[in-house]
């Protein structure tokens, strides 16, 4: 059963120290170290495993700035067959709604597709909304937080979905979209041979003009939500930093806690 698989990936800042555009409160992406969104690495790995088992093709798509092409080339080195970058100033500033709308147009343009894999969430936005939103726009079923998937023969996929209490076993008919969690696999390293082979591989760049989209629904203008402010968690300034040898520091902390009325569990219990 040959499968057409699409993987959505995102380039995110590599560190937690981010600079924000003062006007739009969106992340300034130029000039800082970027990386593949960690969850997306698992989605890509799973796509490659499905292809290895069932045969087919893996297409990787991303919406981002031009330097994101490097990321897509890395995906090709890992074994993806085709890479498409949606890059256009008109896509910039998109919230999850506008992003999903743009990605949906790209997926439709790619043609028939059996399975779409996404990482559960992007570590810069943390909304986990794009995957489900994309599925809705494409009119296909979706499942989030998938920690295991298995294709069954009747164009269905059997999944384990992680929940707080454990996991659920859910079967979906294809085509479907799944967002995955890190428990699903261990991503491979690219090998030297494939990396060198794909050094000059083409990453297709699509602009807004290459898609059938209503320009009022893409980018900043197409967003229904706006970031009002973003604050990094501040270092609590009221704390007291205790330096020095561990033994002494531990005793100081114990003493301070006792002064505050704390008692260890082993004390103060009258049974």
């Amino acid at each position: 059963m040959s499968m057409e698989i699409v993987v959505c990936v995102k380039q995110v800042p590599a560190s937690t120290r981010v600079k924000l555009n003062a006007t739009t409160n969106t992340i300034i992406r130029e000039g800082i170290e970027m990386m593949l969104n960690p969850f997306d690495a698992y989605a890509l790995e799973e796509a490659l495993r499905v292809k290895a088992g069932a045969g087919g093709r893996v297409t990787v798509i991303s919406m981002g700035i031009p330097s994101a092409a490097e990321l897509l080339r890395y995906a090709l080195a890992l074994g993806a067959d085709r890479a498409v970058l949606l890059s256009d100033k008109r896509f910039a500033g998109a919230d999850t709604l506008a992003t999903a709308y743009s990605l949906a147009a790209a997926v439709r343009k790619l043609g028939a597709c059996d399975l779409i894999l996404c990482g559960r969430q992007a570590v810069d936005g943390d909304t986990a909304q794009v995957g489900p939103s994309l599925a809705q726009k494409l009119g296909i079923p979706h499942l989030t937080a998938v920690s295991r998937l298995e294709l069954s023969s009747q164009r269905r996929v059997l999944c384990e979905k992680m929940t707080d209490e454990g996991y659920q076993e859910i079967e979906l008919g294809l085509p479907a979209l799944l967002t995955v969690v890190k428990e699903i696999n261990t991503p491979r390293f690219p090998n030297l041979e494939d990396y060198l082979r794909t050094l000059d591989a083409a990453v297709e760049i699509w602009s807004a003009d290459d898609l059938e989209v209503d320009h009022a629904r893409i980018g900043y203008d197409g967003s229904a939500t706006w970031v009002m402010s973003t604050t990094a968690t501040e270092r609590r300034k009221n704390g007291k930093e205790i330096l020095g040898p561990p033994q002494e520091a531990a005793e100081l902390i114990l003493g301070t806690l006792r002064q505050m009325g704390w008692q260890p569990a082993s004390e103060g219990r009258r049974e």
């Binding site: 261990t186 991503p187 690219p190 090998n191 030297l192 040898p245 033994q247 002494e248």
Partner: protein, 526 residues
């Protein structure tokens, strides 16, 4: 002046050991936060004539920081960054720190561009502003145990995987401030004071001097951390780097920083047998100049089988794909541009093809995140070994890990690898070989299962030391001698040389108070 001192057994307890198997004894421990306090502690405790042991972070594995009675001066609270300077001559920043500052703290401060600059001079603050504004800078000395102190790194001339390209600690220290046992001091910069024909005269800041004869031995031409660094016309700064605390207390260290490489790439290649891996290693070692790798590391099949076994039991290493059962060679390159990095990769593909390697099965780490995973693997090997020993200790408490730290000249690399493999096989002992093969420096860890294994393992290591010394190698390439390897140092250089080392120490520390027992026993016995 009130010193911060502890004297009760419970308070002293933690400071009687380092990461070796050795436990010592002491009567008191002080935690100075200023040079004046150190000087005062030296004054007070030298009057008692008892030994004074200087400690950094106690991560050493040769017992150098383990006290042998008397007083301990623990520098863990003497740990600030003191200032920065731009060095016009060499186009780099210089960072001055106190010895208690940890290597990891220096790395983090540089990566985050964040130091506590309280009390810094105007010149330092100006250099700091420039540092924050332009470029990325690192401290290129590389060590595996990043929780070590900078002072400790100076004491042992510490090194790690990337010392293959960047050199050991010595290559990155441009200045030291030194406090002698009698309280006299000097701030010494590289290039200021030299020995002449084996005779030295170190001018101190009060106008007096320490003078004497340098030992006359010649150091082997290998990566070496055994005994004093000696050359007849040497820069006197180098006398103190690697001196394991026997000559003076280091109170300030000035480090040279280097620009962070633009592109770092790592490759883990797998081979069916050791000769195959060695051929590839020899080919990599021929890359010089701008093509020279930052590191070349080796892990034998036993190492990979150990980690692979843990992966299959699903205990750990979940971020690493399943390792094959094979010999492994890791090579890392630091290159100025992506194009240069790609050229190195093409070269390596060729070297693999020519030397029995398989480019299609060679793992490539081209992103910082993937490089981190491979660092994780490399550090996992010694950690897993410690875990196995800990388990075996429960059944047989006297068991400890038996590890070696020997290096040999280039033309003896194949010979020593065969020596290790064959002798372990003949004796039926379980051993793992891994390490800095680029410097012909491999750690062999023998894992004894019984007391008899332990006894035979110890004897085997002594036999190896004998042969390695005869082949022009060293008994300690990076860990230092400390208190555990004094017999090996004696074997390596001989009685006369060690006598000369004692005489050198007497020039600086006539009463023999500082870290006695490190490198050599205080007095010759018999």
């Amino acid at each position: 002046m009130r010193l911060n001192v502890v004297t009760t057994p419970e308070d002293i307890q933690p400071y009687l050991r380092d990461e070796s198997s050795w436990t010592g004894a002491a009567e008191s421990v002080s935690f100075p936060q200023s040079e004046d306090e150190i000087r005062e502690a030296l004054r007070v405790y030298s009057q008692k004539g008892a030994p004074i042991t200087i400690q950094g972070a106690r991560t050493g594995i040769t017992g150098a920081a383990v006290p042998v009675g008397g007083h301990v001066i623990n520098l863990s609270r003497f740990s600030r960054a003191l200032g920065m300077r731009w060095d016009d001559a060499d186009n780099r920043f210089l960072l001055t720190v106190q010895p208690g500052m940890l290597f990891s703290q220096v790395q983090k401060g540089l990566a985050d561009k964040e130091f506590n600059t309280q009390g810094w001079s105007r010149e330092s603050l100006s250099a700091y502003r420039r540092f924050c504004a332009e470029g990325r800078w690192s401290f290129a000395a590389d060590i595996t145990e990043t929780s070590a102190s900078i002072g400790g790194m100076v004491s042992t001339n510490a090194s790690g995987a990337k010392s293959y390209l960047y050199g050991p600690m010595r290559a990155h220290v441009v200045g030291l401030r030194l406090l002698l046992a009698d309280g006299r001091a000097v701030t010494l910069r590289r290039g200021e004071q030299f020995a002449q024909g084996g005779f030295f005269r170190l001018r101190l800041e009060d106008g007096t001097a320490v003078e004497g004869r340098l030992p006359s031995y010649r150091m082997p031409a290998v990566k070496n951390a055994s005994g004093y660094y000696i050359k007849p016309d040497m820069d006197l700064l180098d006398l103190f780097i690697g001196s394991e605390g026997t000559l003076a207390v280091v109170t300030e260290i000035t480090l040279a920083l280097s620009p962070t490489p633009a592109r770092s790439i790592g490759l883990l290649a797998f081979f069916g047998d050791m000769p195959g891996a060695l051929k590839y290693v020899q080919a990599l070692k021929r890359l010089q100049g701008t093509q020279k790798p930052a590191a070349i590391e080796y892990f034998d099949r036993a190492c990979l089988d150990m980690i692979r076994g843990e992966q299959l039991e699903a205990r750990s290493h979940k971020d690493l794909p399943l390792l094959p059962s094979a010999e492994a060679v890791y090579v890392e390159f630091h290159q100025p541009t992506q194009a240069d990095a790609d050229t190195r990769l093409r070269q390596v593909r060729l070297l693999l093809q020519e030397n029995g390697g398989k480019p299609a099965e060679t793992w490539l780490a081209a992103t910082p995140q993937d490089l981190e995973k491979l660092i994780g693997f490399r550090h996992a090997v010694p950690e897993s070994i410690n875990h196995i020993i800990a388990e075996r200790k429960r059944g047989t408490p006297m068991l400890t890990k038996l590890g070696t730290d020997m290096a040999v000249p280039d033309d003896k690399l194949a010979w020593v690898l065969n020596l290790y493999a064959e002798s372990l096989g003949t004796l039926g002992l379980e051993g793992l070989k891994f390490g800095h093969i680029g410097d012909n420096h491999l750690h062999v860890n023998i894992l004894p299962a019984t007391a008899e294994d332990y006894r035979r393992g110890k004897a085997l290591i002594q036999e190896w030391a004998r042969q390695v010394i005869a082949a022009g190698g060293t008994v300690s390439a990076e860990h230092g001698i400390g208190k555990l390897k004094t017999a090996q140092l004696l074997d390596m250089y001989g009685r006369e040389a060690v006598k000369e080392m004692r005489a050198l120490k007497r020039c600086f520390d006539p009463l023999g108070l500082l870290n006695p027992g490190n490198m050599f026993v205080s007095e010759e016995s018999g």
